[in-house]
């Protein structure tokens, strides 16, 4: 048996009001890919932050290669051979790859030497990446490569990866897995955090499962079914979303000849987008993020104005209406970026509820806010969408990503919009919460609403959508009945070629 690289013994860590980790013990062997699994708020991030020196445990001990290990800061952890790729990249768009990597180093070498090193490492691990390329022009997968290479330059013994595949396309995931297996072959260990059970079953040797801060079990993922692992994580069995098949009604949302020139240097311009969504229909828009998804959402939310008749709801031209005016006629949107866009980080949940509430019971004709009513609404969101928060006065930023996502989606869905547009509804959300969000989107649609779901997650789109289109490079394919599409069709669509199958096209 391989030797133990990292041994965690009875690690506990508390924050005011929460026990984030409660006597967690596990170990990672050399040359092992070890999965750390759990719902949002189960304590995975806290645990990993202690290994990486961002936090210190209240009690318990860690051993690295049989020596006591308690890093007081990340640079100490890095010196001991631990590297981490975060879920959110910390890269500067306006700098090139080599400059970005140099910025993260304690004593960066000359840029030319560094570029050479980057090329050697990227070649030897099958991660093609030009050191002179501008980060703003890289895809999400390539940005992650920058982060991985930054870590590999330190020649780590243990690489921690937090939700590494959440932003990747299927092909990019494949490349990443090849890299991880190569690292494993060199005897390096990987601590792999993910919600995607199928991935973990594919690549991980061993899994430790956390729930509510405690270790609740461990397994060899290859020998355990995804359902079994999922139930260990959640502590109960959960059902996948179900829906009733139904006839669609009239067209509620019509978009015609939507073109937007982006003002953002790194944005994507939309060109000539046409689609419509009927009552009861969920249209899924697939494609890799950065291909115009944000721009499409802002055109639909009202943040970006168009000529009036480009967007019609109930046959009314609304292209010039502001976001609050669109909410007034029953059209709502939930953007991808939770903190800073859908919610104001430093403001309380109550205040964040107010951001998209404009009805008369909340704000009277003199502009006076009825905070009792806002509080009531917030309480409804929190209880119906199972948002876990100590109080309603907590700042949005204090919630975990999944909880905040449930809040943001719940805030809009509880207003029963007739047209609802959502970008990445379950990004970074655990399986149980994702199932819940998907089910509430289905329920909304069956309640006489038209829904547009923009997502990178094809499985998600196939689970809940009725029709499917792909947004690539600012252009959108025709929408097709999702049940008529084969995986090859989807591949063709993703590649930017439109299917010429007239009998399948939606009339």
């Amino acid at each position: 048996m391989a030797e133990v690289l990292l041994q965690m013994d009875g690690i506990s860590k508390s924050f005011p009001g929460v026990k984030a980790n409660d006597k967690v013990s596990f170990h990672i062997n050399s040359g092992e890919i070890h999965a750390l699994l759990g719902e949002n708020g189960a304590g995975k991030s806290t645990l990993v932050k202690m290994v990486y020196g961002l936090m210190q445990p209240d009690s318990g001990s860690m051993k690295l290669s049989s020596e006591n290990f308690r890093p007081s800061e990340p640079s100490k952890a890095r010196q001991s051979g631990i590297a981490m790729v975060f879920q959110h990249f910390s890269l500067f768009d306006a700098l090139n790859v080599a400059e970005n990597i140099a910025l993260g180093m304690e004593n960066p070498p000359r840029l030319e030497d560094l570029s050479e090193k980057i090329e050697t490492v990227s070649k030897s691990y099958g991660l093609p990446l030009g050191p002179k390329r501008l980060v703003g022009q890289l895809s999400a997968g390539e940005r992650q490569r920058v982060e991985i290479i930054r870590c590999l330059l330190q020649n780590p013994k243990l690489l921690i990866m937090d939700e590494p595949t959440s932003v990747l396309t299927p092909n990019e995931v494949k490349t990443l897995f090849e890299t991880l297996l190569r690292l494993k072959g060199e005897g390096k260990s990987i601590l792999y955090i993910s919600h995607k059970l199928e991935e973990i079953r594919e690549i991980c040797d061993y899994a430790t499962i956390l729930r509510n801060g405690k270790k609740v079990g461990s397994c060899i993922p290859k020998d355990t079914s995804a359902k079994q692992i999922g139930e260990m994580m959640v502590g109960k069995s959960f059902s996948s979303p179900s829906r009733k098949s139904q006839e669609f009604g009239e067209e509620l949302l019509q978009v015609s000849n939507l073109s937007i020139r982006t003002k953002d240097f790194f944005g994507t311009s939309l060109s000539n987008i046409n689609f419509s969504v009927r009552v009861g229909e969920i249209l899924g828009i697939g494609g890799v993020a950065g291909n115009g998804q944000d721009e499409l959402l802002s055109a639909l939310s009202g943040e970006e104005k168009t000529s009036p008749s480009t967007i019609k709801v109930f046959n009314q031209p609304i292209g010039k209406l502001a976001p609050d005016e669109r909410r007034a006629i029953g059209m709502r949107a939930a953007p991808e970026e939770r903190l800073g866009h859908a919610a104001a980080p430093a403001m309380t949940l109550i205040e964040n509820t107010l951001i998209t509430s404009h009805s008369e019971d909340v704000i009277n004709q003199w502009g006076i806010i009825n905070f009792d009513s806002v509080k009531e609404k917030t309480r409804d969101i929190v209880s119906e969408f199972d948002v876990r928060t100590p109080t309603l006065d907590n700042a949005a930023t204090s919630l975990s990503g999944g909880n905040l996502q449930k809040f943001v989606i719940g805030r809009e869905i509880l207003q029963r919009p007739r047209v609802f547009v959502v970008n990445q509804p379950t990004w970074g959300v655990d399986a149980a919460a994702a199932a819940f969000i998907r089910q509430s989107i289905l329920n909304l649609a069956s309640n006489e609403s038209a829904v547009v779901v923009i997502s990178q997650d094809l499985d998600e789109l196939f689970e809940i959508c009725d029709t499917f289109a792909v947004l690539t490079n600012g252009r959108m394919s025709k929408s097709h009945d999702i049940s008529s599409l084969s995986p090859e069709d989807v591949g063709l669509l993703m590649g930017g070629s439109d299917l010429d199958l007239k009998n399948r096209d939606k009339a």
Binding site: S301, G340, A344, A346, M347, E351, I355, G367, I369
Partner: protein
């Protein structure tokens, strides 16, 4: 006793006592200094409340001094053009004109920012110098006292009952401007506690993208915040020229518009905090005058003290949020 003790310790303590304690509690100064406290605090608080509205939204009006001057010129012009008629409507008309003067002067940087994306800090600051030149020009020309024997400066409004901003309570320093300042504190408090506009301003400052998503128009926020702060600064200028100053002169402005920036931050942009900070800053003005008189300190030393107050406040903010760290290799 306490004052004596401190005074004996060192001259530094003596100066501090002279600035912060004697104006209120030394019988030689109190009868002059106590009313002066309200006279000085009134305009500072009124301006600072206006500035704090913009600062919360991340809109930096640095030119309140210019808006203050324009308010005084507009308001005084109304009075001087009606002289010597008497009417109860003259003073309210002057207040409206003063508010309007400050409002349009603040609207210039606001509109330039909305339409041409200029920086409101630079434009509003530059407009202070323009305002000072207008002030110098009108006090020697348009508004000069025809009976003033050719000396620069307008008629003294103290001698014009309908236009005089008199004390509401005699010898208290409490004039209409002080009352307006207190009213502004209360209204600002409710604006941010309960009103939609206050909420919109708060989000615009906290998370501009979320504010845009909420449907808040950034241009409207800029115009509202700049306009409000200009309006209040203009009113402060009018109350000053019609009351304590009495006339438009070349040296009418005394830096209240800049001091109010310090006061807004010292009060942590909270209306009640601004009320207290305004009183404190007024005290340094008066104590500074006394210190100049008694110790022969130069006039700039009190500005130095005021500047240091802001400097230490900002340093405290930085040091509570960040800590020094040696670079470990």
């Amino acid at each position: 006793m306490f004052g004596l003790l401190l005074g004996d310790f060192s001259s530094a303590f003596g100066a501090i006592k002279l600035i912060f304690w004697d104006p209120l509690f030394d019988e030689n100064f109190a009868s002059y200094a106590r009313p002066q406290l309200l006279v000085k605090a009134g305009p500072i608080i009124l301006i600072a409340i206006g500035l704090s509205i913009g600062f919360k939204a991340g809109i930096w009006n640095i030119g309140a001094e210019g808006q203050y001057i324009l308010g005084a010129i507009f308001g005084a012009s109304v009075a001087l053009s009606l002289y010597p008629q008497e009417s109860v409507l003259i003073f309210p008309a002057m207040i409206l004109a003063g508010a309007f003067g400050g409002f349009i002067w603040a609207l210039i940087p606001a509109l330039l920012k909305v339409y041409f994306k200029t920086n409101e800090i630079l434009v509003s600051l530059m407009l202070v110098y323009v305002a000072e030149n207008i002030l110098a020009s009108v006090s020697q020309g348009l508004l000069r006292n025809p009976e003033g024997m050719g000396l620069p400066g307008s008629r003294n409004l103290k001698d014009y009952p309908s236009a005089h901003n008199s004390e509401i309570i005699a010898n208290s320093g409490m004039h209409w401007g002080v009352l307006t300042a207190i009213l502004a504190v209360i209204l600002a408090y409710f604006l941010f506690l309960k009103h939609q506009k206050g909420f919109e301003i708060k989000i615009a400052g906290e998370a501009p993208k979320a504010a845009f998503f909420a449907g808040i128009n950034p241009s409207k926020t800029i115009i509202f915040c700049m306009g409000m702060s200009g309006l209040l600064a203009g009113m402060a200028g009018l109350f000053e020229v019609a009351g304590p100053a009495g006339q438009i002169t070349m040296s009418f402005n005394s830096g209240y518009g800049f001091t109010a920036i310090i006061v807004a931050f010292l009060g942590r942009l909270n209306p009640w905090g601004i009320l207290l900070a305004g009183l404190l800053m007024a005290l340094t003005y008066i104590g500074g005058e006394i210190a100049q008189l008694m110790l022969g300190l130069p006039g700039a030393s009190i500005q130095l003290l005021q500047g240091m107050l802001l400097f230490f406040l900002l340093a405290t903010d930085i040091l509570t949020n960040y800590r020094f760290k040696s670079r470990s290799s």
